[in-house]
């Protein structure tokens, strides 16, 4: 019985072996392949409609956007030839190129742009365009975006929102998208694969590859596919990126996908959150404790020990972005300095149990992390050992997100963030955001920081905004939310994303990636080249 089963297997294999060789086998290496196969995840369950959030990471592929994100996270032009923000920050005027067309032959008009923004503003999807009051096409190549309030970060919507054709945007659009992007959809077998081919009428630089196949495999199958040469690019978590795979190289991409500890910054018992949850922690409310933890942590050791080298020490929530303040970096791994900070603030170990106390309160608090996240567990346990010599006791608890939601105002939490959009920084530190979703969980409040954040939002040009964003981290007077000043959080590490890439494939200049691994890699897909 089992012998005949093996025979069938062998016969099937022999017959299909030739078909499964793929484009990367030895005999074909001389000719440049026209098809790329990628296993980088990122399948949108609800399809390819930008007004519902498709394309917010990386490239929307089928549609094109008004602006683009440059590799250094600066802003570049795409469908727009120029844009201008009015002095009050409320009106964004965008000039459009006139040579762009959708794949059904119709031109891309300001009416389509206005329709896209107005629709996205009303739709309950994964792109937040609620700041928009209305979008209006003013003439044949200009569109005006009118906002409810000044918001410099609205530029991110111009970068991420793919323009859809008003005449073809119906119920079936998400499954059969029509756009003006570099590729057009050929076939989508949901849960398995997406096949796209180059749009030869694309107005920009044509990509080098005729056809792309995205396989939506999970981690184990992705690794298996990479090992058998079935794919040219495979996104894998760094824990699986061990060992060599023949014909592929391991490429690491810097990201602002970070991990850090939020501290409650107000004393306990003072108030309750809008959802009725208790707020405050008497130990972490002392800035000396927060600074001491920041100083005592050895971030290099976390990178080497927990991330196995695939990462970098984090000094703030936006390391490497144009709005990052380099002066906010501190000297860490210094237990003596941490001890001195605590000593000065009156935390002393009088009873000799290794934990300092002040006014009868032990310098001890609980650090929560989501159970099942082994990376955060590793970080949390390492931090405990790093701060213990300074006389601070941290107890870790792995709990569900649901429980974290109940306790995030009273206990320290190991969060992960990281976005190309500085709105995140605003949400994490603006005092008015405390108690909303998981934003500003520690009820951090500093009027100077609030002013800087508001000024950054109201700025009308990216450079001016970046200046205010930097000041919010640390300004010239020493105010700020980062470790040298209020130390509202203890940022730990930035992750590196790891990809196995065919040795012949050149991915160009990789971009700093946001929280989210895989699909963001496609942001530069038009510049990918075959090098053999």
């Amino acid at each position: 019985m089992s012998r005949s089963r093996l025979l069938v297997l062998a016969a099937v294999t022999a017959l299909t072996a030739s078909a499964c060789g793929g484009g990367t086998s030895g005999e074909e290496a001389t000719a440049k392949p026209t098809e790329l196969r990628l296993a980088i995840g990122g399948e949108p369950e609800d399809g390819f409609d930008p007004t519902l959030g498709w394309g917010r990471y990386g490239s929307p592929l089928f549609q094109s956007t008004l602006l683009t994100r440059e590799p250094d996270l600066g802003v570049g032009l795409d469908l727009a030839t120029a844009y201008e923000v009015s002095g009050d920050g409320l009106t964004w005027t965008v000039d459009l190129r006139t040579d762009a067309a959708f794949t059904d032959g119709e031109p891309v008009t300001p009416a389509d742009v206005a329709y896209t923004f107005n629709t996205a503003a009303r739709q309950g999807g994964l792109t937040d365009v609620t700041a928009l009051d209305e979008a209006v096409a003013v003439d044949e190549d200009t569109v005006e975006l009118r906002l409810d309030e000044p918001r410099s970060t609205f530029v991110d919507r111009l970068i991420s929102l793919g323009i859809v054709p008003e005449h073809a945007h119906d119920d079936g659009y998400a499954r059969e998208p029509v756009g003006s992007g570099p590729y057009r959809l050929v076939d989508w077998q949901q849960g398995q694969q997406l096949v796209v081919e180059r749009n030869d009428d694309y107005y920009g630089d044509l990509p080098a590859f005729d056809r792309l196949v995205f396989a939506f495999t999970d981690e184990d199958a992705t690794l298996a596919a990479a090992r058998t040469g079935a794919v040219d690019v495979a996104a894998l978590p760094s824990s699986l990126a061990t060992g060599d795979i023949g014909g592929m190289r391991l490429e690491t991409v810097t990201s602002i996908d970070n991990r850090g500890i939020s501290f409650p910054t107000v004393p306990s018992g003072s108030r309750r959150s809008p959802a009725g949850r208790p707020v405050g922690n008497d130990v972490t409310a002392d800035v000396a404790v927060r600074r001491a933890v920041n100083v005592a942590i050895d971030r290099e050791a976390l990178v080497e020990g927990v991330l196995e080298g695939f990462g970098s020490p984090a000094t703030g929530p936006v390391d490497g972005a144009p709005w990052y303040e380099p002066d906010s970096a501190i000297e860490d791994a210094d237990v003596d300095a941490a001890a001195a900070l605590l000593e000065e603030a009156g935390w002393q170990d009088a009873d000799g149990d290794g934990v300092r106390e002040k006014d009868g309160t032990d310098a001890a608090f609980t650090l929560l992390y989501p159970a099942g996240d082994t990376l955060r567990q590793g970080l949390a346990l390492s931090v405990v050992d790093m701060v213990a010599p300074a006389g601070v006791r941290i107890e870790t608890e792995g709990v569900s997100w649901d429980e974290i939601d109940q306790r995030l105002h009273t206990d320290a939490v190991l969060f992960g963030w990281g976005s190309h959009d500085p709105t995140e920084m605003y949400n994490l530190y603006r005092s008015s955001m405390a108690g909303t979703e998981s934003f500003n969980p520690g009820y951090y409040r500093d009027p100077v920081v609030d002013r800087h954040l508001d000024a950054a939002m109201a700025a009308t040009d990216p450079d001016e905004a970046a200046e205010h964003w930097r000041a919010a981290q640390l300004d010239d007077d020493g105010h700020g939310f980062t470790a040298p000043a209020d130390a509202a959080w203890a940022w730990l590490v930035n992750l590196e994303h790891t990809y196995y890439v065919d040795s012949c494939l050149d991915l160009g200049e990789p971009r700093i990636e946001p929280h989210g691994h895989g699909w963001p890699l496609t942001a530069g897909i038009a510049s990918w080249r075959w090098d053999c």
Partner: protein, 333 residues
């Protein structure tokens, strides 16, 4: 006269079954909805996922509105139930498609996988069970029994991963994923391709069903072999292969058939894991997504569909058992 009353009896049985089916479906729907309404998972939070920093409160309210989550749960259930009666299962939150469409697509993909796995486990389990029973206590029996216990205690996804690494990665005999070769369009896929991609997932899935069928068949075989009519046949000089074929197989088939049809539910459950490992886009994969993301309409639709399938499986099992083992005919009615 006698015929008529028999027909009436059948009609009554069928009516009873229909009532039972309807009440089962109602109970399943209400139970599932209650469980999900009480679940701590917030569907909006699950949908937003890693984008939580970029999606503000106003946008979240829009999402709730799009899915109708701003209504109280009981009202939502009422509206949903009202639509179900007219054959409309609602729209999946995750996939943005009508639930009936999602289920039909996925079920079609799962069907060949389930059917192959079901046949494989039934035929293999029954044959090996007969062999084990016939060779009781000898090496073959011990090996088969040991193997059955091992399979019974092996998790499906683990077996799947093992097969994946042996046959797809090391030997490269089978593909690593999907229901068709990467990069081929639906029209280009040959039957052979489909079978090639089906073999490993089906093998993995059949593991779920083999052990119980094998062990029960073995037990039934032992009992039948020890019975008087077999002793009589032996005395008449019938040898083992003939005995198995003519005397044992039919009598031992009863429990095997019952189990086989009753195992449809377990098979559906196992397909969740097998499809996950092999990126096979069937109903199992959709179930995982719906559950993790709190897609209430889709999950309810899937629960109703699977309840129906399991019910039909059990009913067929009863029927097959009665046809195969005529003794039970009178008792069951």
């Amino acid at each position: 006269m006698g015929l008529l009353s028999r027909d009436r009896g059948r009609l009554r049985t069928a009516g009873l079954r229909a009532v039972r089916l309807v009440s089962l479906l109602v109970a399943v729907a209400a139970g599932c909805f209650a469980l999900m309404a009480g679940s701590p998972v917030d569907p909006v939070e699950a949908y937003v996922g890693a984008d939580t920093a970029a999606i503000g409160s106003e946008q979240r309210a829009q999402i709730e509105e799009r899915w109708g989550l701003d209504e109280p749960p009981l009202e939502r259930f009422g509206v949903w139930a009202g639509h179900v009666v007219t054959g409309d299962l609602g729209t999946s939150q995750v996939f943005g498609q009508p639930v009936t469409e999602v289920i039909a697509d996925r079920f079609a993909a799962s069907l060949s996988l389930l059917a192959l796995a079901w046949l494989l486990s039934g035929v293999l389990g029954f044959t090996l069970g007969l062999l084990a029973g016939a060779t009781r206590g000898r090496l073959l029996d011990r090996v088969l029994t040991w193997w059955a216990y091992t399979l019974a205690s092996a998790p499906t996804f683990w077996v799947g991963l093992l097969l994946l690494y042996v046959f797809s990665v090391s030997l490269q005999w089978t593909p690593v994923c999907c229901a068709a070769p990467l990069g081929t369009l639906p029209g280009e896929v040959s039957l052979l391709d489909r079978v090639h991609h089906l073999v490993l997932p089906a093998l993995t899935l059949s593991v779920v069903g083999i052990s119980p069928v094998l062990l029960h068949t073995r037990q039934a075989t032992l009992e039948v072999l020890a019975s008087d009519h077999v002793a009589f046949a032996r005395a008449q000089g019938e040898r083992l292969p003939g005995l198995l074929l003519h005397r044992v197989a039919r009598n031992a088939a009863g429990p095997a058939l019952m189990l086989q049809f009753a195992s449809v539910g377990e098979l559906l459950g196992g397909s969740v894991l097998a499809e996950q490992v092999f990126t096979y886009p069937g109903l199992g994969e959709a179930t995982t997504t719906a559950a993790l993301r709190q897609d209430v309409p889709l999950l309810l639709g899937i629960a109703l569909t699977t309840a129906l399938v399991v019910f039909v499986g059990n009913a067929l099992g009863d029927l097959a058992h009665r046809v195969a083992v005529p003794r039970t005919r009178e008792v069951a009615a």
